[in-house]
């Protein structure tokens, strides 16, 4: 049995024709990483999302250098939304800990709180939109506005995608038809994804704040 994980480069420099290697290989269980497939799935999605947001950031950085860029005000509501998202992440972390300890009531309350706060965040973002549109900051009037609307939308869509999995988890939880280890895993993965979206929001908000 192999004792530690080999790096990708070690793996592709194996010499499978050598007898000693063949002996090891015959016992190989066919898994490359010691992670569940769901966890790798979430990580892959986070990598792809990171690439997507990086392209947006690059486009933003490139586009803001051109003279027609007019900065947009940041309504104070955005700060409140940021706080809500931070609190959501905090509660998700608590829920995850509770689920690891199998404290069912806490998990249930935690999941509902998280869902409520996430929808509040999305609602808050829409309020910000409403305010800005009332002030006359249209997407077509300046590209900075367009970036703001586009980035908040994409971020919100990511959150909605996460909420689908949150919904699946909570419906399974309420029906009581689950394996504890599986439930712990789904809650953990949702929590990771929520933390990821919080970091993405920090980056996007910071970008808009400091430019």
């Amino acid at each position: 049995m192999k004792k530690k994980e080999e790096t990708f480069f070690q793996l592709i420099s194996q010499k499978p024709w050598e007898a000693s290697q063949a002996k090891l290989d015959n016992k190989h269980d066919g898994k490359t990483l010691k992670l569940s497939r769901e966890k790798i799935g979430v990580r892959t999605i986070m990598v792809v999302s990171t690439v997507i947001f990086s392209f947006f950031v690059v486009a933003y950085a490139d586009r803001m250098l051109i003279h027609d860029w007019k900065n947009m005000p940041e309504p104070w509501l955005l700060w409140i939304n940021t706080c809500i998202l931070m609190i959501t992440s905090y509660f998700f972390h608590k829920t995850k800990i509770a689920s690891d300890r199998s404290e069912n009531v806490k998990v249930k309350n935690g999941l509902f709180t998280v869902g409520f706060l996430s929808f509040t965040f999305i609602f808050g973002q829409m309020l910000v939109w409403y305010q800005l549109l009332n002030l006359g900051y249209f997407a077509a009037s300046n590209v900075a506005n367009a970036f703001f609307y586009m980035l908040t939308t994409i971020h919100g869509l990511h959150l909605l995608g996460g909420l689908i999995f949150w919904g699946l988890t909570i419906s399974k939880f309420l029906k009581g038809n689950y394996r504890i280890s599986k439930m712990q895993r789904s809650i953990e993965l949702c929590a990771i994804y929520w933390h990821f979206l919080l970091i993405v929001w920090f980056v996007l908000f910071g970008l808009m704040l400091f430019t």
Binding site: I12, G30, K34, V51, R63
Partner: protein, 605 residues
Amino acid sequence: MPDEFDYKIEAKADMAASGTSVPPIDYAPVAERPEQELYHSKSWWTTYVFSQDAKYIGIQYTCVATAIALVGLALSLLMRLQLAFPNLSLLDASVYYQFITMHGMIMVVFFLTALFLGGFGNLLIPLMCGARDMVFPYVNMLSFWVFVLAVLVLVASFFVPGGPTGAGWTLYPPQAITAGTPGNLWGIVLMLVSLVLFVIGFTMGGLNYVITVLQARTRGMTLMRLPLSIWGIFVATILALLAFPALLVGGIMLLLDAVLGTSFFMPVSVSMGELLQTEGGSPILFQHLFWFFGHPEVYIVALPAFGIVSDLISVHARKNIFGYRMMVWALVIIGALSFIVWAHHMYVAGMNPWFGYFFATTTLIIAVPTAIKVYNWVLTLWRGNIHLTVPMLFTLGFIITFLNGGLTGLFLGNVVIDVPLSDTYFVVAHFHMVMGIAPVLVVFGAVYHWFPLVTGRMLDQGLGKLHFWITFVGAYMIYTPMYYQGFLGVPRRYFEMYESSYISTVGLNVFITLSALVVGLAQIIFFYNVIRSVLKGEKAEKNPWKANSLEWQTPKMPPEHGNWGEKLPVVYRWPYDFSVPGADKEHIPQNVSPSEVAGAKVEKT
């Protein structure tokens, strides 16, 4: 369906010895891992339409991709007729541009990408890795249906006011969305929506392909025992997961420019004598985003083709693949390099010349691993027991075609040569050879090779050979004259060309068009062959090509739902044990244990 775990005791002892505490929840120890719960469909709809069986999804992908490819083929033949016989006035300028655009986009994205990754990926990955299905079958099913939706949206653009977009498959702004370009209102929007859907659908599928290869292989199947087909598809999928986001981002921003009138890419411009509202946008930013997707896209198509060719060549030459490790490394290196060569598509876009210098260098470097692959194929043939079966013919055709397409690419990779040739038919011939004809030859070879696995019947070899020779020779009759035309300076993208004072293109154009018609019609032979063989073809014996990889070792052929019957196979060797010196068998399948083979010496690869 329990699998026998021979290593149970050993693994337990190992854990006890190492004295580890409770492992994290995430990792189930080897011996106690339950097998994947296999989904069983319950109704007609979930069996035949919304199927979650990867094999079936692969066939669905193949059929849809082929159907849309026929549309692309028809468009190209109509364009060729227009070029050869401009007097007929078959197409006017705007229709010609629309056909160019749709032909390009359909063939590159909706045909080749979908076919290699969606089609062959779904069919081969679980079977070759020894899995019962993909890791997320439901997501896999969704991926296919989102792809179907993307195709339908694309096709719908033929029927909207103004027709499909005529901006060229690169969709460069500002012209893609300004008045004067055909389909600038509806067509471009549908095209972008279709691409966004495609990317979303592909990401769902790609997740499956990557994680299945990484985590769901059978016992004994290490990464370095995987068939090269899987390596090609695996690396290509990773490329696609990282490259398609660039298309997605560019597509979304262009969509907003088109629909909301934002100016991400739209500079100050005057259209029809009126100043547009937009200002400050950066068209070159779109080009960077597009080609950051566009160049890896070439390798997304090419790498699976490389992998499949390696397997076909080894099986049909009865010889192990030369330099297996080198082949894997070449795939990985090509994949990595393909992300830093994109701007060689933009030499004429007005970049800083130093930029072009950098990209010319990286482009030429990528020729090194590619050349390694070609050498290794040729060395695999060397002293092999070459069977000139139909798959082998297509494979040989691929090597030659890829070679001459690739060599012309070396010239075009240099700025000084690219600048004068960029707008000519030389480029058309180059990219059709390297990523049109070459991958399509692999597709045909692969279809002839794996057809018995899918249907249990053989394709007719005689018809196959006829189909090969017409397609292969015909392709050269189409594209060799185009290289020549390019040297003469005949511009591409022109919808009609008559005699001019310095170049006559009429005769050559007629010749090319007639060849294209012959090749196009010759595909009827292929489809006739497929349909005839499905209905009443010769029944295939098990493992008709005497191959070693796992997909041929299923208990039943074609494999049933769940692929492996009661017990998953156990792998003891790589898939290239052909003509092993001293062995009493001519070929040794991957799941044959060493004790079953007498006298085999281990051979260094």
